[in-house]
Symmetry: C2
Subunit: 491 residues, 2 copies
């Protein structure tokens, strides 16, 4: 995917959970943010969100990322929107407040796209009193905004098609999956389902059928797992089997006439019901603070998204595209390479840590493996080359584990090419933490293989030439002490 | 968790998608199954499910598992239930058919627990004409039954508490999360939500607001990801922040009065609507066969469950307990150890494979790392020992990559203890595939450390003694050729 770099500065109006989530997503994408939030606690709120967002982002994304964007606290709406490529409104869900914000925006900035984060107010109502209503649309995100890819785009009667198109492109640049809701209806699409489930859940608690914990377990031990990767229809299509979707509907259609939901009514939110829910929720979750729950949630979402990314499926496809954009953006702004090749950078994810409290041993080799991949990539052994049947296989590895490293620590690998000759390539990786402490070294012999024959073969002339050039650049470097070591050899 | 081994033989009546899923889950747990299904295609249907289930199970579970249970096709209900510890009914959703099955069961087997898989028929209706109604309950699973842990247990008016208790224990032995639905209502808990969402989805398609693909994306790019790991209430508790659950409800309560769902009515399932859904579903998913979609779904679910298992959260907790039970069960039935220590066994998971189509290099070290853990465990370096501050850290590793191995292949590690002296332990692992082909060797130097000081220290006397005994058992074994090698040394 080509990165257009259209989006360089974003104005965010309102710094609550949703506005703060937008701020985090933009900053992590290297975009400058002007935030307007009259709350004197705005900076503290954003700091708290950024702590979570930075951790989650580091665990979600591999490789190089652009430097974090700058955050400026503006003292007025006019100052915030000045020079912005996109204005995101995330103020409370009251039509009058939102319309007043748009009035202030229009007094200060012509033409700039305005995206409202409303969960359900119709864009036609939002834009009713605007001078340039064609530039307003709804861009409804999902909490946590810095992790979940979905954003529903909804235009009002006066929204232009070009506003929808431009917004789609911008939110893709932010690593999101824009879903154009083509018909303007209250609550759009996703929140209609959330509302239906919420109403049914309130009834179940109200009638004493189930507690909040039992309801949550009924979701997350069963259909919630399904919905993280396929939606309603595709899940049922599979369950229906070869007979097809029409057969499935015919089979389950009669249930529609049975009393299987109580959605014809809404329970009264009496103090008694509200307190019951709050008490049950305490019993269920109060063992963790909200901050702990946020981090558990984020770690779980990251783990799920990374797995889907590896499988290039659903929300993982969005993450993969995002990562490619981030890598490309970071590489564009890189200085000239140092003699050693910076072949890998990451932050130690929580799930790389073992019972000893430090990064577990095989993750050291995973770092070296990623570093080797990067050397191969730089030599032209890329996806297309591999798809055509050529690759390098590691045949021998020697690792010195020198120091331990804990979760959350930034680490990187510098690589020295020891030798390149015919089918063979010998690499020496050094893994460091950010302070420059050497954590481990890895020495690796690789053989070029023809994967159609599954046996050793010469690389293509182009790859051989690139490798020779890279190796020549390292020819004057000293041989590392640890190169050529065997296990247990006296140092 | 203590395995009770109560469940040794299960009768399953009905071998469709759900019944077949039960058969698969039981067989994979090492339990004998008697299946009664009059369909002449029953064996073919079960074979197809077992192909998927075996693949998913191998990827989900690490370490040793008991041998697969035996499947017997019974020619009558009476023959199927003979000698069973549990009878699972999974016939079509018609009360008269189910009651007739119970009649036949009661003529052949007294006392045995009967669990109906119905999605929504009330157990009081199911048991209305039974001679021993106290032994009937609903055990409602979720497709795919061999992967999703949730099973809703619902008793009728005449179901005994001991039946519920016994069923809970049995389904836990099957690796599931039994959720006791304490109030008997139609559709129980989970299907009430599914029904609510289904009705709303039918409206959205009926009214042309969204296609099936758009609806699925609205789910799986957003709230579906949340619900795989936290349910509705815990998610909202976190979103509500420090102000608490009551505040959250007060804030969003007014939406209940807004027209945010259309659930007061049910759309007519006209041919036109059914065909529209079927056509949209084809457009969305027909690029994959149902078989492919099943495998994609299973791989995604396995990946998500494995991540949650690593984090010991939600459905992952169930998987972790299950795995411990399976390992314990397999170990109980193991023969005496060979001179070399069988320190690790697994089947190469799909997600261990890289772009070269074979197990990626760092997973070799992961195998060796698990093998080292097992040696440590056998020497008494267990959770309690580590919690008390002692452990072994790997300081040096040498790997020879000898052969490649593909996803789904059973592999194992045999370990030779080269030497044990004071703080130092030198191990030599050999990784084989099932046919005995040597895939890699790993030589490792480990140092015992005091983790409170993070520096080398002597192991406890007990651990030292155990290690000495283990090393003495290997003293007569030949030193492996690859021991002491350095990278690139001439062989």
């Amino acid at each position: 995917m080509k990165s257009t770099n259209d989006l360089q500065r974003v104005a965010v109006i309102g710094g609550g959970v949703i506005g703060g989530g937008w701020v985090a997503r933009c900053l992590l994408n290297g975009i400058t943010v002007n935030l307007y939030d009259p709350d004197p606690n705005a900076a503290r709120k954003i700091d708290a969100i950024m702590v979570n967002a930075r951790m989650a982002f580091a665990k979600l994304v591999d490789g190089l990322v652009p430097p974090e964007g700058k955050l400026r606290f503006a003292d007025s709406i006019a100052s915030a929107v000045d020079g912005a490529d996109l204005i995101i409104e995330a103020v409370p869900e009251r039509l009058d407040i939102k319309q007043s914000v748009y009035h202030d925006i229009e007094a200060a900035a012509a033409d700039t796209l305005i995206a409202s984060s409303t969960s359900g107010i119709l864009p036609s109502d939002l834009q009713a009193h605007m001078a340039q209503p064609d530039r307003l649309l709804v861009a409804h995100p999902f909490n946590p905004v810095y992790l979940l890819p979905l954003v529903e785009l909804v235009g009002g009667a006066k929204t232009s098609q070009s506003a929808i198109d431009k917004a789609s492109q911008m939110f893709r640049q932010l690593g999101m999956h824009p879903l154009h809701v083509r018909t303007e209806i209250p609550a759009f699409i996703a929140d209609r389902f959330l509302e239906a489930v919420w109403r049914e859940a309130l009834w179940l608690v109200n009638d004493g059928v189930a507690t909040t914990a039992e309801i949550d377990d009924a979701i997350r031990y069963g259909f919630g797992l399904r919905w993280a990767q396929m939606g309603l229809f595709e899940t049922y299509r599979v369950a229906g089997g070869e007979a097809g979707m029409a057969h499935f509907i015919a089979q389950f259609g009669p249930c529609l006439q049975w009393p299987w939901t109580k959605l014809t009514d809404v329970p009264d939110l009496t103090d008694e019901l509200v307190n019951r829910i709050a008490d049950q929720s305490d019993a269920q979750s109060a063992a963790y603070s909200i901050r702990q729950l946020e981090q558990i949630r984020d770690d779980n979402l990251v783990a799920i998204l990374r797995q889907l990314e590896q499988r290039n499926w659903g929300a993982g496809q969005t993450v993969r595209s995002w990562q490619e954009q981030l890598n490309a953006s970071a590489i564009r702004s890189m200085p000239d390479p140092t003699p050693l090749i910076r072949s890998y950078e990451t932050t130690v994810p929580q799930d790389w840590v073992d019972y000893n409290g430090h990064m577990t041993e095989h993750r050291y080799l995973e770092c070296f493996s990623h570093a080797t991949d990067e050397i191969m990539r730089q030599a032209g052994v890329d996806d297309a080359y591999i798809a055509a049947g050529g690759s390098f296989f590691t045949v021998e590895t020697h690792i010195c584990h020198i120091d331990e490293v804990m979760a959350g620590a930034p680490i990187y690998v510098d690589t020295q090419i020891l030798s390149v000759a015919g089918k063979k390539m010998r690499l020496f990786h050094r893994l460091y933490d950010k302070s420059g402490t050497l954590l481990a070294t890895g020495e690796h012999m690789l053989l070029h293989v023809d994967m159609t024959q599954r046996r050793a073969s010469q690389p293509t002339a182009l790859v051989a030439a690139k490798l020779a050039k890279m190796a020549a650049g390292h020819a004057t470097l000293a041989m590392p002490d640890a190169a050529g070591r065997a296990v247990g050899m006296t140092r």
